[in-house]
Each structure stands twice: as structure tokens, then as C-alpha cells.
């Protein structure tokens, strides 16, 4: 695992020592090379984990998330080149350093063995993200967004720290590899109910659960493009990954403790999808769509069946790539018109047809068109929730319909129809932007040929 972590840490001296015309080239190239190394982790022997050391391991759940994380760094760097072009050199280097620090913490979080180490790195990802959102965001609301982001996550995760330490006292070790073998049933008592809540609330806030999701539209909208990408693609998945790891220790209370959260998620996914239909702000629409997809993941994780875990993992990877691509597309609009309002940039298909092709592909994968992996994830979740309770099919079906509705709404509003009269002086698409979209779409399409690598550890 050090073969991924040490090169990522060394990206920081690389940025500070590069010449002015080479910083983007150097960092993008080397981060692409690092993502190639992480691909070797996808070769997992069945049903077990690859244990590299006492501190790092990788199993079929964390390997795809790790590959997604390392794949996303070069994409973030490519996406940030335009809005940073006018900044002084030191600030560019600071920005890239923040992204690299975030990347290092994320890699270590996904591969951590010891749960306290996972917690420390989970919290550590907050600091660079906060700095990226607050320092390089574009509107005054970014201050409030940073505060909401930091305090929502910290309020949820401080009880998690106490819960982890008390579990360490009771069982003697928090090493994840040990826990999965000597797991015992949690006896039923009030304090164990609070233990369950303390363990899960941190991840619920991070996912986010419907009632606690207020930080997400603020943070996603106010962040610069790399911040939005990493938030949508990876940081939300930290919540899902944490939940998948920690529910192994929390049986059998999940069977009755999960009901309120299941209700909130099932209702919340319909509510947030419906809000998407009435959004005027493009980034806000994509942010609420993230909440809706993550609500599906929460439902899948709380049901705890093999198929639902497969669906959750596939949905996390698919949503990561799709959401990140949608934010890149929204950003390409923002860089041209300096506004996030959807109707100000209509009819782009006549002006930028290749970008319209990417918009089409992204919207189609967002609404889970077969045979993309988005569909595989959603279908597994819908099937397993139907087997958990027949009535959920109504809500799930309604959600799929409304998702299709708002994805097509977004596509038609931005691409089709007559263009506005003030839009005739936008720059054509850069090769960098087209490459960015292609690099998002290609893994998404190729994975539909071999989805078993993203189906997680219950395959």
C-alpha cells in the first residue's frame, strides 16, 4: 500500500518544486501513473482480503473505491486549470497541495485496518476540503457552507470516537480483520441502542441522510469544481464505506434500529428527487440528485442482504463517476456564462455539439439506463428492498421515474431548444474539457462489460 501512499505524498514536493509552466503537466501525469498502480489492487482472491501490513489492507469493497479515488485526482487537476489560471503561482501550488493532501488522507482512510486510524483520517479529510471550499469558492455564501459542512460532520463524528473507544475497551482491539472473526451479538439494552446510534450517526450525516442533508447543497454549490468533484464522488462514499464496515459489529440491533433511518431514506429519496424538478440552479440540482442516490445506498446498507451490499457498492462507484462528470459539465457552463442558472445557457447543442454528446451520456447514466453500472446498482437495491418489504416497490418505482424526469429536464433545458440571444460569444469546447468527460465516461462504460469488480465482497 505504501507504493500508492508514498508517491501521493511526494506529489506535494513535486508541485512546490516545479517550474511555472510545468506544474499542471507534472502533477496530472504523475497522478495518472499512481492511479495505474492502484488498478493492480482490483485483482482480489475471492472472499478474503489482501493484507499488506498491520495497518493497511484492501478487500473487494475498498479496492474499487480506492481506484476511484486515485482516478479522480488527475481529473480534478484537469478540471481546475481554467479557474486557477489567473491566480498567482503560490496560490496554484497551495490549491494542488490541498488536493494532494486530501487524496493522501482518502487513500489511507479507505485502506485503514484499525478503526481509530480510520476515524482520525476520516476527520482529517475535513480540513483540506474546508480550505478548498472556503478559500477558493466563488460566492459569499461559501463561508456559511464551510461552517455547515464542518460542524454537521463533527457533531456526528464525536460520538463515533467515544463509541469506538468504548468498543475497544469491551473487545480489546479495533483491528478490522480481527473483528470480523470474533464477532458476537450485541445484547439488547438501552446503552447498546445509544452505541448503535453513536456509531452510525457520523456516517449518516456524511452520506447524507435526508433529515441531516442541509450541508450538502450548500457545500457542493459553493465549492470550486475540484471541491465539488471530490465531495460528490468520494467524500459521500466515505459515509457508505464506514457504514458497511461498522454494521458488521452492530448485529442484531440493526434489525430494529434501522427502521427510522430506512423510513427517512425511502421518503427522502422521493423528496429530494422532487426538489430537483423545481431547481433553477444547475449545481444545486446535481447536489440534490446526489442526496437521492445516496439515500438508495443507505437503504441498501441498512437492509443487510448480500444483494443489497452488491447494489450499494456498485451504486457508489457508478454514482461517483456520474456525479463528478455532471459537475464537470456544469462547471464548463459556469466558466462560460459565470452563472449557475440553467435557463441562462439553453440550447447549447447547436453551439457545442460534442459537449451535448457528453451531456446526453451523463444524463442517461444518471437516470440509470441499461446496461450501465448505475442500473446494476439501482436494480439490485430495488430487488433486495422488494424482498425486504413488498411495499417499497411503490416508492422505488416512483423514485426511478422522478430521477428520469429531472435528468431529462436538465438535459432538455441546457441542450435542446433555441439558444439564447446573449450566448453567441462563448468559447468553443477545449480539448481539455472533452478529455475530462471522456476520462469520466470511459470507465463507466467499460465497467458495464465486467461489473463483478465493483460488486463488492458479497459477490
Amino acid at each position: 500500500m505504501l507504493k500508492i501512499i508514498i508517491p501521493t505524498i511526494m506529489l506535494m514536493p513535486l508541485t512546490w518544486l516545479s517550474k511555472k509552466n510545468m506544474i499542471w503537466i507534472n502533477t496530472t501525469t504523475y497522478s495518472l501513473l499512481i492511479s495505474l498502480i492502484s488498478l493492480s489492487l482490483l485483482n482480489q482472491p475471492s472472499n478474503n482480503s489482501l493484507n499488506f501490513s498491520l495497518m493497511f489492507f484492501s478487500d473487494p469493497l475498498s479496492a474499487p473505491l480506492l481506484v476511484l479515488t486515485t482516478w479522480l485526482l488527475p481529473l480534478m487537476l484537469m478540471a481546475s486549470q481554467h479557474h486557477l489560471s489567473k491566480e498567482p503561482l503560490t496560490r496554484k501550488k497551495l490549491y494542488i497541495t490541498m488536493l494532494t493532501m486530501l487524496q493522501t488522507f482518502l487513500i489511507m482512510t479507505f485502506t485503514a485496518t484499525e478503526l481509530i486510524s480510520f476515524y482520525i483520517l476520516f476527520e482529517a479529510t475535513l480540513v483540506p476540503t474546508l480550505i478548498i471550499i472556503t478559500r477558493w469558492g466563488n460566492q459569499t455564501e461559501r463561508l456559511n457552507a464551510g461552517l455547515y459542512f464542518l460542524f454537521y460532520t463533527l457533531m456526528g463524528s464525536l460520538p463515533l470516537l467515544v463509541a469506538l473507544i468504548s468498543i475497544q475497551n469491551l473487545t480489546g482491539s479495533l483491528n478490522f480483520l480481527l473483528i470480523q472473526y470474533w464477532n458476537q451479538a450485541l445484547p439488547d439494552s438501552w446503552s447498546n441502542i445509544f452505541l448503535w446510534l453513536a456509531c452510525m450517526m457520523a456516517f449518516m450525516v456524511k452520506m447524507p441522510l435526508y433529515g441531516l442533508h442541509l450541508w450538502l447543497p450548500k457545500a457542493h454549490v459553493e465549492a470550486p469544481i475540484a471541491g465539488s468533484m471530490v465531495l460528490a464522488a468520494i467524500l459521500l462514499k466515505l459515509g457508505g464505506y464506514g457504514m458497511l464496515r461498522i454494521t458488521t459489529m452492530l448485529n442484531p440491533q440493526t434489525s430494529f434500529m434501522a427502521y427510522p433511518f430506512l423510513m427517512l431514506s425511502l421518503w427522502g429519496m422521493i423528496m429530494t428527487s422532487s426538489i430537483c424538478l423545481r431547481q433553477t440552479d444547475l449545481k444545486s440540482l446535481i447536489a440534490y440528485s446526489s442526496v437521492s442516490h445516496m439515500a438508495l445506498v443507505i437503504v441498501a446498507v441498512l437492509i443487510q442482504t448480500p444483494w443489497s451490499y452488491m447494489g450499494a457498492t456498485a451504486l457508489m462507484i457508478a454514482h461517483g463517476l456520474t456525479s463528478s462528470m455532471l459537475f464537470c459539465l456544469a462547471n464548463s457552463n459556469y466558466e462560460r456564462t459565470h452563472s449557475r442558472t440553467m435557463i441562462l445557457a439553453r440550447g447549447l447543442q447547436t453551439l457545442l455539439p460534442l459537449m451535448a454528446a457528453w451531456w446526453l451520456l451523463a444524463s442517461l447514466t444518471n437516470l440509470a439506463l441499461p446496461p450501465s453500472i448505475n442500473l446494476i446498482g439501482e436494480l439490485f437495491v430495488v430487488m433486495s428492498s422488494f424482498s425486504w418489504s413488498n411495499i417499497t416497490i411503490i416508492l422505488m418505482g416512483a423514485n426511478i421515474t422522478i430521477t428520469a424526469l429531472y435528468s431529462l429536464y436538465m438535459l432538455i433545458t441546457t441542450q435542446r431548444g433555441k439558444y439564447t440571444h446573449h450566448i453567441n460569444s462563448i468559447k468553443p469546447s477545449f480539448t481539455r474539457e472533452n478529455a475530462l468527460m471522456a476520462l469520466h465516461m470511459t470507465p463507466l462504460l467499460l465497467l458495464s462489460l465486467n461489473p463483478k469488480i465493483i460488486l463488492g465482497f458479497t459477490y
Binding site: Y119, I120, L121, E123, L126, V127, M155, L161, V162, I165
Partner: protein
């Protein structure tokens, strides 16, 4: 003032604290406290104006009251145990009175009212000495009598201090008052774990002193005493803004900076002793502290102008030489991976 006299007075302060920390006779400890108090008054009053006079008078009155209470507790202890050696305190009344006296010296709730006013009235360097060096002596006595302190009083004072330190700092814009409320909250954390594992009190004290030293030195370097003037540091030394950001986040207790280490260890120690609600409450109340640190970072480092502009600049005095600042900054932010080394503190 005359450098020779200033050195003598400073040495007396040091000597007072050393006598407190190294004596085993209760009377010598009391003498050390008095020596410390009398010698620090001229240091607090380095600039002679009514504001400093008021602050020094308040400090003197509270500390003298605390010393008298301490003397009463020592005499009661002498009555019940018949000897002057410092060991555990033999009588519950004496223990309660001694704890209150030491809490008054430290600035714990409900005796915290003097800390913001005194810290605000004196210069930054004197404030530095007040909030770091002066805490060493009472804390060392608390460490030595820790087996016999009444747990209820100690924990109540600790939790209330964290609460007051968090809430009181929310409405402040003067930097010295912010540091004072931060000191109250950190003292609360230190005394919470005193009954369970006093070594962690010392660890927290060490890291707190490092972080407070760093913060004060950064304030002295940019000669700023209000949030408004701190927000002008990007004009003078832009690097200082980054350092302020890192140190403030470390004081707030965010991982992966070293300010998280004492909080983590304290929560671990409290949880091992089966109190779970208490550390959860303490950790959540520490978020109040984080809020006003974040407000400081927002005005200082995270909202900078993209280019030069018409904003008021600070007058460029001769740069003050701050010795020791880089190692302090490194230690106050990067020590978390060294946590397993804590076994040497035993």
C-alpha cells in the same frame, strides 16, 4: 524598564514557580505562590496606564484571596494530619478548600471571571506569561494532591469551564479575550482527567502551552490585538496567515493536528473508566471553541483578496525578532503521529 531590574523580577517569577513545584513542605509552597504573585505584578504593569493598573489590581486581589484560602486549607490539613509534608490531603474540608483555591488561581469556573478582564488589560507578552507560565504552579499542586480531590467538585468545575470557555468566547473580537476564554476551556479539559490519569493532565498542559505560545507569538509578530487588525496580516506577512490557520485548527482539536492528541487521550481515559456521557458532552462543547477559532481563520486567512487593493495596511515597524517560532509551529501542529511515544511520560 531597566534591564537588570527586569531580569531580576523575571527570575523571581521563575524562582517562585520552581519553589512551588519542587517543595515538599506546604509552607514553602505557599511562599512560592506569594513570591510568584508579587513578582509578576510589575511584569503585568510594564506599560503604566490605568487599564494595566486595573488589570493588575484585579489579578492581585483574586490571587491573594486564593493564597489565603490555600493557607487555610494547609492549616486545616496540619490540624488533622499533624505534619507539613505534601502528600494526599487528609481531610475532605481541607481538600475542598484547597481545590477551590487552586481553581481560583487557574481560572476555572466558577472562579473564571478575572481571566478575560486581566488578560485584556495587559500587553501581549505579559498576557503570554500570564496564560502559560502562571498555570504551571497551581497545576503541579493539583497533580500532587490528585488522589484526594473530591471527584464531584472537580468534574463539575471541569465541565462548567469547558462550557463557559466555549460560550464566553463566542461574542469576542479582542484577541486577548479570545485566548483567555480558550485558556478557561483548556483548563477544564485538563482538570477533567486529573482524577483518572494525571499524566494526561501534564500532556494536555504541555501541548496547550506550545499552542498558546505559538498563537501569542504570531499575534506579537503581526502586532495585532483585535480581529480586525489580525485580518490585515496578509498585507504584511502572508505566510503568517497560513500559520495562524494551522495553529487555530490545532487548538480547536481537529485531527490530524497535534491539538487532537490530548482530547483523544482524555476521551480514551475517561471511557476506560466507564464514564461515557461525560466525554461525549465535553467533546461536543469543545465545538463551541472551534466555532470562534473558525471565525478568526475566516477573517484572517480564508477570505483573502485576489490581488493588491485599497485596503488599509499595517504600518511597517521594524520586524520583531521572534526566536523559536518555527519549531513551535511544527510541534504544535505535527505531533499527532508521535502519540505512541506517550508511554515515556509515565
Amino acid at each position: 524598564m531597566n534591564p537588570l531590574i527586569f531580569t531580576t523580577i523575571l527570575m523571581t517569577v521563575l524562582l517562585g514557580t520552581m519553589i512551588v513545584m519542587m517543595s515538599s513542605h506546604w509552607l514553602m509552597i505557599w511562599i512560592g505562590f506569594e513570591m510568584n504573585l508579587l513578582a509578576i505584578i510589575p511584569i503585568l504593569m510594564k506599560k503604566y496606564n490605568p487599564r494595566t493598573m486595573e488589570a493588575s489590581t484585579k489579578y492581585f486581589l483574586t490571587q491573594a484571596t486564593a493564597s489565603m484560602l490555600l493557607m487555610m486549607a494547609i492549616i486545616i490539613n496540619l490540624m488533622h494530619s499533624g505534619q507539613w509534608t505534601i502528600t494526599k490531603v487528609f481531610n475532605p474540608t481541607a481538600s475542598i478548600i484547597m481545590t477551590s483555591a487552586l481553581a481560583m488561581k487557574l481560572g476555572l469556573t466558577p472562579f473564571h471571571f478575572w481571566v478575560p478582564e486581566v488578560t485584556q488589560g495587559i500587553s501581549l507578552t505579559s498576557g503570554l506569561i500570564l496564560l502559560t507560565w502562571q498555570k504551571l504552579a497551581p497545576m503541579s499542586i493539583l497533580y500532587q494532591i490528585s488522589p484526594s480531590i473530591n471527584l464531584n467538585i472537580l468534574l463539575t468545575m471541569a465541565v462548567l469551564s469547558i462550557l463557559v470557555g466555549g460560550w464566553g468566547g463566542l461574542n469576542q473580537t479582542q484577541l486577548r479575550k479570545i485566548m483567555a476564554y480558550s485558556s478557561i476551556a483548556h483548563m477544564g479539559w485538563m482538570t477533567a482527567v486529573l482524577a483518572y490519569n494525571p499524566t494526561l493532565t501534564m500532556l494536555n498542559m504541555l501541548i496547550y502551552i506550545m499552542m498558546t505560545l505559538t498563537m501569542f507569538m504570531l499575534f506579537i509578530h503581526s502586532s495585532s490585538t483585535t480581529t480586525l487588525s489580525l485580518s490585515h496580516t496578509w498585507n504584511k506577512t502572508p505566510l503568517t496567515t497560513t500559520l495562524i490557520l494551522i495553529t487555530l485548527l490545532s487548538m480547536g482539536g481537529l485531527p490530524p493536528l497535534s491539538g487532537f492528541m490530548p482530547k483523544w487521550m482524555i476521551i480514551q481515559e475517561l471511557t476506560k473508566n466507564n464514564s461515557i456521557i461525560l466525554p461525549t458532552l465535553m467533546a461536543i462543547m469543545a465545538l463551541l471553541n472551534l466555532y470562534f477559532y473558525m471565525r478568526l481563520t475566516y477573517s484572517t486567512s480564508l477570505t483573502m483578496f485576489p490581488s493588491t487593493n485599497n485596503m488599509k495596511m499595517k504600518w511597517q515597524f521594524e520586524t520583531k525578532r521572534i526566536t523559536f517560532l518555527p519549531p513551535l509551529i511544527v510541534m504544535s501542529s505535527l505531533l499527532l503521529p508521535l502519540t505512541p511515544m506517550l508511554s515515556i511520560l509515565d
